[in-house]
């Protein structure tokens, strides 16, 4: 610890990531989660800063983890990121086992219509947005909020991708296709150009107001009152058009990471702010492809060799734990952990843990595989 500024200490600690832990949320985490919900940038529809809703959310997660589940249903798993060094909950993220299990999960699907004129011998393409419920079947990674001090650190990656480590272990609880919905573009004043050009005509309320309403009530209630016929893109404002499929600036790095992970841009965007929805086949995601089981070998922290960072998860359900450690193996394939790390994960020597590299290939390679 070189600095004395507490925020730089935190960042340093995050970089080391020695004491970071992702685990399922518990009732006692409500205060922290509410704080995270209020500080999310931008505010998230699916993480309303509304205590009753959040309590319900945690209870739902605990219920799902205490039952046998043979196929994805209306479970929502909520996780928290804990920094043990400062003893604080500094992030949260969820998985909806089936995006449309409770309410239909509506998105706008970008389509191209061909208007061909035989008379004039020309073909004219027109883009539309159609209300769609096709994404209802996917398992959705959503509701992520991270303490601002940890942004851009490996803590962000851990929080985002520990969910994949969980999915890797409980495939029967999730769909083959995963989705990630990113907050959409807002301008400097915090307004959504897409909402202002589309939804506002039908609701006459601002983006933040409707977003809040949707968080407390249900987004699908609102979708069902949205225009039922496809919208012609040329009739939207240029500002709205350019917001389609564009993420909120604060989420650019996260989006890049998910593309590197193997997700691709789908044709679908959020119905309020036109934020992008990524989709990924589980079988093609880097973390799920490259993770492996290794027995634990405990060694003094000082004697651990240097190696690339990795996510390490224990083999529990309700007591699921995932942290960051070095991917250092013995010649016989045992993962070397310090005493502290083993304790963090709640594992003893010889117990198998799931390990996947934290690093991902360059984003550029993954960018152009989408449906579009």
């Amino acid at each position: 610890m070189r600095g004395i500024d507490p925020s730089s200490r935190v960042a340093e600690s995050a970089r080391e990531a020695g004491q970071l832990l992702v685990r399922p949320a518990q009732a006692a985490d409500i205060g922290a989660i509410e704080r995270l919900a209020s500080s999310a940038t931008p505010r998230l529809t699916n993480l309303p800063a509304h205590r009753d809703r959040l309590e319900e959310r945690i209870a739902r997660s605990c219920r799902a983890l205490s039952h046998n589940v043979d196929f994805p249903g209306d479970e929502v798993y909520t996780f928290v990121l804990e920094d043990r060094e400062i003893g604080e909950i500094v992030g949260t993220a969820s998985i909806r086992a089936q995006a449309g299990a409770q309410d239909v999960y509506y998105t706008y699907r970008q389509e191209t219509l061909i208007h061909a004129s035989q008379q004039l011998n020309l073909r004219h393409e027109v883009q539309t947005l159609s209300l769609s419920h096709e994404m209802s079947e996917v398992s959705l990674l959503c509701a992520l909020s991270l303490d601002a001090r940890y942004r851009g650190t490996s803590a962000a990656s851990l929080l985002r991708r520990a969910r994949l480590m969980f999915i890797a272990q409980y495939p029967e609880r999730f769909a083959d296709t995963l989705g990630v919905a990113f907050p959409g573009y807002l301008d400097e004043s915090g307004a959504s150009p897409f909402w202002d050009s589309v939804g506002r005509h039908f609701f006459n309320r601002g983006y933040h107001e409707i977003n809040q309403l949707a968080g407390v009530r249900s987004k699908s209630f609102i979708a069902e009152v949205m225009p039922q016929f496809p919208l012609y893109l040329p009739l939207l404002t240029p500002q709205a058009r350019s917001a389609i499929g564009r993420e909120h600036p604060a989420h650019e790095p996260a989006l890049g990471e998910m593309l590197a992970e193997g997700f691709v841009r789908s044709r679908h965007v959020d119905i309020f702010d036109a934020g992008p929805v990524l989709r990924g086949e589980r079988a093609r995601l880097r973390t799920l492809n490259h993770c492996g089981w290794h027995p634990v070998r405990i060694r003094p922290a000082a004697s651990l060799p240097d190696a690339e960072p990795a996510m390490v998860a224990n083999q529990r359900l309700a007591d699921f734990r995932c942290t960051v450690a070095r991917y250092a193996l013995t010649p016989t394939g045992q993962l070397l952990l310090s005493e502290a790390q083993a304790e963090l994960l709640g594992v003893e020597e010889g117990r198998a843990v799931l390990v996947a590299p934290l690093a991902l290939p360059d984003v550029e390679d993954a960018l152009d595989e989408g449906d579009l």
Binding site: H115, H201, I222, P227, P230, Y232, P234
Partner: protein, 339 residues
């Protein structure tokens, strides 16, 4: 001045009329072959040779002194039978949710061909030099007398399409905001193709799904159902006859289509048939003629103003000149309308 069916020897005069009409009057393009075909078609219609759905009654207003044509107008007996006939219809869709305590209706433009089979009054043009002496009224109302006389040859409804709003630069804001996104061409070109009856490109390129009007810019919304400044008098005249805007607009410029049940049209309801008596004597002559008289034959249909209405016995007295103009003699029947 008298109105009569067009005939083959009117071709040169029709061409000079067509030259004068200009943009926005697409049904009379300055194209020899097209105009010849138009006359052929009209002549066949007046001779009663063609089925109703192909009948185009094309009339000319003739200055019987100079032999010059002063203007023209037409009735199409049943539109949309040979080529598709498109409109946008302004409709309402309800968007309501008990849970959200929301209930509103959204205006929507639906592509429709609802008017297929209706009659249309169209192509009215009067040369500037003749825009006096109620010639416009004659051109416009003569059609009602024709329809009243040959009521059986027409369907239930009649419509008239009104030119929409064009801005100072000659551009239709409605087209700019809507049509231009779907038709990769200029407004003029689209308009011309339509005038030539080549309308299948409309159905091919037009958006098939309804357009939610709130998505249109204010400039376009303001054109919906609004007429061009110069068309306002014509619209007023039709409104007085009972034609109304029922929500149909032109797909290019957003101008209103007004319509009525033919039997409800004022001029048709109020016209009456009377006996003619040609009187050599000096007859009372109104300074501003208010009685319109039309003959009862189709191929030799004539319509003009006369100086007076029927007497108490239901007989109308005509001067020799009036009788000549209408080509009637004593004992013939005329259909009269006080305008």
């Amino acid at each position: 001045m008298r109105l009569r069916p067009i005939s083959h020897h009117d071709i040169d005069e029709l061409k000079s009329l067509a030259q004068e009409t200009g943009v926005g009057f697409t049904s009379l393009p300055n194209d020899h072959d097209f105009l010849v075909a138009k006359i052929d078609k009209a002549v066949a219609a007046f001779e009663g040779h063609v089925p109703a759905c192909e009948r185009l009654y094309f009339f000319v207003l003739e200055d019987e002194q100079s032999g010059e044509l002063a203007g023209c107008c037409a009735i199409e007996a049943e539109v949309g039978r040979e080529t598709p006939f498109y409109h946008y219809r302004v409709g309402k869709l309800a968007h309501s949710s008990v849970q959200l305590d929301l209930h509103r209706t959204i205006d929507t433009l639906f592509l429709s061909s609802d008017h297929t089979g209706d009659a249309e009054v169209a192509s009215l043009f009067l040369r500037p030099a003749y825009r006096r002496d109620r010639n416009g009224t004659l051109l416009s109302k003569a059609r009602w007398l024709f329809m009243a006389e040959f009521r059986d040859g027409f369907p239930d409804k009649v419509l008239a399409e009104m030119r929409g709003v064009i801005d100072a630069d000659g551009i239709s804001p409605f087209w700019q905001c809507l049509g231009s996104h779907f038709f990769p061409m200029e407004f003029k070109q689209a308009d011309q193709l339509t005038g030539l009856g080549q309308k299948s490109f409309i159905g091919e390129l037009m958006p098939k799904y309804p357009i939610y009007t709130p998505f249109l810019p204010e400039a376009a919304r303001a054109c919906i159902g609004q007429v061009h400044e110069q068309t306002r008098p014509a619209l007023e005249m039709l409104k007085k006859e009972g034609l109304r805007w029922e929500g149909y607009i032109d797909i290019f410029d957003g101008g209103p289509t007004v319509e009525a049940y033919i039997d409800d049209v004022g001029a048709i309801r109020h016209s009456q048939r009377v006996q003619v008596e040609v009187s050599g004597d000096a007859l009372a002559q109104a300074e501003r003629p208010s009685w319109l008289a039309a003959t009862t034959g189709m191929a030799d249909f004539r319509c003009s103003f006369i100086g007076r209405g029927p007497d108490a016995d239901g007989v109308v007295h005509l001067s020799e000149a009036e009788a000549r103009r209408l080509n009637v003699t004593s004992g013939d029947t005329l259909r009269l309308l006080q305008t």
